[in-house]
Amino acid sequence: MARTDFGPPDYREMLPPIVAENYGKWLYHEIPQPGVIKHVSETGAVLYSVRMASPRLVNSDWVREICDIAEKYCGGYLRFTTRHNVEFLVSDPSQLQPLLDELKARGHMIGGAGHAISNVVHTQGWVHCKSAVTDASGLVKSVMDELHPYFSGKIKIPARLRIAVACCVNMCGACHCSDIAIVGIHRTVPRINDELVAKTCEIPTTVASCPTGAIRPNPKLKSIEINAEKCMMCGNCTVVCPALKIMDPENDGVSIWVGGKVSNARTAPMFSRLAVPFIKNNPPRWPEVTDTVKHLVEVWAKDAKYGERMGEWIERIGWERFFKLTGLPFTEKHIDSFTHATQTFRSTTQFRF
């Protein structure tokens, strides 16, 4: 049998010398220009990190291209960020501008640092996931084609803004805590292929999988039944039972969520909350989605204070004003109906008109 359980390569062998030498010794940083972060060490060492946008879904040519660049300017090392950008780590200041020039020449985009929109955390979409309601990569491309000036620093914004896209409510990625999240959703009840259920599904598991108790066994057909009234289209049953189909190209679509945040800076981490319950899937460019996202960014950028994340801004101005300023309609869909719904009902007369 092949060697097993040996794990990944040791990170210590993957560090550029300047990082190895100044490990744990960094003193402070600044962002001298968009996409360039300068870290200064207590040893006096200075490191420039140049952040380059990545489509994340890449091929071997692309991998070899960034290797070429890293070998030329960075001693043969590079890293990726937790949001999938590439970082070129420059220890020789004289190499910084040539690197930037070459990246530009090759058509790469630099940015994403500091108060900017960084890369979009996203998921598989129609490219690889069986659950995908929409295409994540296509949405990202469409949205960022609109928003790239916020990445590259051409347009300044008051704080960092994180966008995430998930192709279904499983929300792989960080949609549930992003400043703006785009999430694929279903709007119709799963359809049952009784014969297939009988053959391929564990009935008890399927019944138990439903968070609202909408499913009960149908012993006659050795299948199950769904109470449509109780079904919230979460798709959970379809994960455990392949014989249930929830995909519905006419009615599946995209929802938009706002105000989430992960960091503990100033305020506690927050969940993203519903802004737009439904927009039709409109590939390849999803114009309604990109317009809405852009609009949200613009309204926020105009009204927020320095350093104020989307969620903090909304907390300050109140959701009633958020809906007013953005012009988005507030509907019964926005009112929570899940387990802890009552905790979001307003139990104070403190509100705005």
Binding site: K199, E202, I203, V239
Partner: protein
């Protein structure tokens, strides 16, 4: 379509090599599967696991959780993998003729 031949009969398999008609399971099918799943020789221990899985499924309509399987059969997880190199889900369940495990990936 995939098939496996057991005693000259072609049994339909899904893409992952699980049988499509649970009723067509047989001990000979197990033997045929053993080869594709890297089980060199079907020992008593193998049968213990297979029978346990079948019984459990018959009784509860679901496959046991792996920890339960280990506890009830007395085999450690490592021993299960020694018996079924492709693991309890892809290996043991397939041999036992259970529906293909779904869910969590």
């Amino acid at each position: 379509m995939n098939y496996i031949e057991v005693n000259g009969v072609k049994i339909e398999l899904d893409e992952d090599g699980f049988i499509v008609e649970p009723d067509l399971w047989s001990e000979d099918l197990v033997k045929a599967f053993a080869k594709t799943e890297g089980v060199e020789e079907l020992t008593e221990d193998h049968w213990k696991v297979i029978n346990y899985l079948r019984d459990y499924f018959k009784q509860f309509g679901i496959a046991p959780m792996i920890r339960k399987l280990c506890k009830d059969t007395g085999f450690s997880l490592k021993e299960i993998y020694d018996l079924f190199p492709s693991g309890p889900a892809k290996g043991a369940c397939k041999l036992a003729g259970l529906p293909k495990p779904t869910g969590c990936v």
